[in-house]
């Protein structure tokens, strides 16, 4: 795709120096744009709200949420799956596209990876908080103890513990490895001694030497090779939380692939939701070109269709296996008390994104931005439908119940968005949001591409 003779990945007239200065300039500049301060303040306020509702939760207990019997899992798990899913786009862009030599990823992968980290941070909160006795949550980790007790490794929740923590660790390391040459560049650009030392320590004395580059390339390649199966496994494991159980609407084998597709779908939507304003705010059109936007839109459209296929399959399988419980669950989806959630989900995830078939919509950042937000909402609704609707009416009609989210459900959810944005904006402010050395490399290759020496 990179070699196809369409819109360039870099505006013409860029040099090694210009790209380096442009990107590092964002960070090293004295005058931060006022918009940054405004948004950061809002985000920070939300973060405080999150801390508030967490404290309340810890003081009072799970009961402050709307969960009950039969609906034992509510917003907490919905948000967990949603955030994890969002995270996956980052790993996908940085790892899978890397393996596929999609050079167009270069100017967006750093940003996407950062997003992954922060999304996983948000996601990680929920499994911890949703247990009834968080102060006992360490029992979920295998460690030698005086009770000679172990975790119960057959439980998908245990798989989650391992999958999510591994995922967080690996993404963080992968991200840092990619970051080293750039913080080195920052170190060299920085004038103020504190900044120099800060970046200097992070750069660990990176020298851009051929020796370094050589090992660094291998490491990146291997990590990409590891992160790819990891990202697929993580969301499969998350889907097992449901697929392993016997609850109608959960107990289905299609979940792993369709969760992964959904994850990528929502992930790309989130990348766009954040990337489009960022591009505008920092005038990055030169580096994040229409080509990037267009490609991401296409990926969204494709994964969106996979998700649609998933919904269709659910319906067909439920008709095919003919279990009265499955059928009952399906009807409670389409015309039960929560029917608006289901139909809104269809609208957001399947109907509206179809506008992306038209290139002019894909290139109209405003439209695309709107669509990406709609998809984010839709994917959240999908998890709500799966978790709540399946639980609220299962086998024994006498135990059917209803779930009403409370203020604390909402405040925690919105709070995590604040947490996410806070981290993101700190990242934008202090760390090159676009991989400098990869951009240089891209520039180099595109030049040689012009005089036909290399191709990629």
């Amino acid at each position: 795709m990179a070699a196809s003779p369409q819109a360039p990945l870099l505006e013409p007239g860029q040099t090694y120096g210009s790209v380096t200065d442009k990107i590092s300039g964002i960070v090293l500049t004295k005058n931060t744009p006022i918009t940054w301060f405004i948004i950061f303040t809002c985000a920070f306020a939300l973060l405080m709200m999150m801390l508030g509702s967490i404290s309340w939760l810890l003081i009072k207990g799970i009961g402050v949420w709307g969960v009950n019997i039969p609906v034992g899992w509510g917003f907490a798990i919905v948000n967990f799956v949603w955030w994890i899913g969002i995270g996956h786009a980052g790993t996908l862009i940085s790892a899978i596209l890397f393996l596929l030599h999609q050079t167009w990823r270069n100017s967006i992968n750093r940003f996407a990876e950062a997003m992954t980290l922060f999304a996983v941070a948000c996601a990680g909160l929920f499994p911890l908080l949703h247990v009834g006795r968080p102060w006992r949550a360490y029992w979920l980790f295998p460690y030698p103890n005086t009770m000679s007790m172990w975790p119960q490794f057959r439980s998908p929740l245990m798989w989650d513990v391992f999958a999510v923590s591994t995922y967080a660790t690996v993404s963080a390391l992968f991200w840092f490895v990619g970051l080293v040459p750039d913080v080195a560049a920052m170190r060299d650009r920085a004038k103020n001694p504190i900044a120099q030392r800060f970046y200097g320590i992070l750069a660990m004395g990176w020298r851009n030497s051929a020796k370094h580059w050589n090992v660094h390339d291998t490491a990146s390649l291997l990590l990409a090779g590891l992160a790819t199966p990891l990202v697929l496994s993580v969301h499969s494991v998350v889907s097992f939380d449901f697929a392993i159980s016997i609850v109608p609407g959960w107990h289905t084998t299609i979940f792993p692939p369709y969760f992964v597709a959904g994850a990528i779908y929502s992930g790309f939507a989130m990348v766009l939701t954040l990337m489009i304003p960022f591009r505008k705010l920092y005038h990055m059109e030169a580096l994040i070109t229409e080509r990037h936007i267009d490609n991401m839109a296409k990926v969204m459209l494709a994964t969106g269709l996979m998700v649609a296929y998933g919904y269709l399959m659910e319906a067909i399988l439920c008709w095919y296996n003919g279990s009265q419980y499955e059928v009952g669950m399906f009807f409670s989806r389409i015309k039960g008390p929560y029917w608006p959630a289901y139909w809104a989900l269809i609208l957001c995830n399947i109907v509206i994104p179809q506008v992306l078939w038209w290139k002019k919509n894909r290139l109209n950042t405003l439209v695309l931005w709107g669509v990406s937000i709609v998809v984010n909402i839709g994917m959240w609704l999908e998890r709500f439908v799966i978790v709540v609707i399946s639980l609220h009416r299962d086998f024994v009609p006498s135990s059917w119940g209803i779930y009403h989210p409370t203020f604390w459900d909402l405040s925690l959810f919105i709070g995590t968005m604040g947490f996410f944005l806070t981290l993101l904006f700190l990242f934008i402010r202090f760390i090159p949001a676009i991989s400098i050395f990869e951009t240089r490399h891209l520039l180099h290759e595109s030049e040689h591409h012009k005089d036909g020496v290399h191709g990629s």
Binding site: T146, M147, S148, M149, R187, Q196, G200, M204
Partner: protein
């Protein structure tokens, strides 16, 4: 650009990394050590008692049987703590005006309990039953240790779940002669074996005399007393309800 870091920053940074790793591991080790120390589980630390009652004196020197004071140990989950009356059966005759015994006499007069301090404390969600352990031939001293050597009573065993499980997984390592459960010679003088009175055990078993090693005898005892297998003995409901 000039050097940002001095020449010796390199060894320094390496040292720093080593230090971090060491502190993390060391910290974890320390926490574990403290958690498992007598300071936390009070093993071997006799608490201050209102009356300096010496098990050594009463058990070893006077040879009083456990059941004389801990009356219900054979038929209840709770072994029983002696009433002031029990003390006074003897102490109305001897040491009648010893100052240390004043709390007991006071309790006897006023019908109020002597405020003993609990030495062996289990969490409220653990349901331990003395009587069945006695019935299956687990000697007092197996868990309570050399009570007959204790001037002031202290906790001999950790009472951790893992400690309980040792025996519930391998009863054949711990059960002894039923006739010897109340014996205080907690190490058999000849076999140097824990709570194992060979002769009494042999006497108890139908084919006792054919057996030689303590191991065999103990295995035989376990079978003889129909003690369930390890997997049933380590089920949650055995101790938690």
């Amino acid at each position: 650009m000039a050097q940002i870091f001095s020449r010796n920053s390199n060894p320094l940074s390496r040292l720093l990394i080593a230090l971090v790793i060491f502190t993390v591991l060391g910290g974890l080790g320390l926490i574990t050590a403290v958690y498992r120390s007598p300071y936390m589980n009070r093993v071997g630390v006799p608490p201050e008692q209102p009356v300096p009652f010496s098990h050594k004196h009463h058990v070893q020197q006077l040879g009083i049987d456990c059941r004389f004071c801990h009356t219900s140990v054979e038929n209840s989950s709770f072994a029983g703590i002696p009433s002031a009356k029990t003390c006074m059966t003897c102490h109305s005759q001897m040491w009648t005006n010893a100052q240390v015994l004043e709390p007991v006499r006071e309790a006897f007069r006023t019908n109020q309990p002597v405020p003993w301090v609990r030495v062996h404390h289990l969490p409220e969600f653990v349901y331990f039953n003395h009587s069945v352990h006695i019935a299956k031939g687990v000697a007092c001293t197996t868990c309570h240790g050399p009570v007959d050597h204790m001037e002031m009573l202290y906790q001999h065993s950790t009472l951790w779940m893992s400690w309980c499980l040792q025996c519930h997984r391998h009863p054949e390592k711990f059960v002894g002669a039923k006739a010897a459960v109340f014996q205080s010679n907690w190490i058999d003088s000849r076999t140097q074996d824990l709570n194992m009175n060979i002769d009494l055990a042999k006497a108890e078993l139908p084919d006792g005399n054919s057996l030689q090693t303590p191991e065999d005898i103990r295995k035989a005892l376990v079978k003889h007393r129909k003690i369930p297998n390890a997997m049933s003995m380590t089920e949650c409901y055995v101790c938690h309800r």
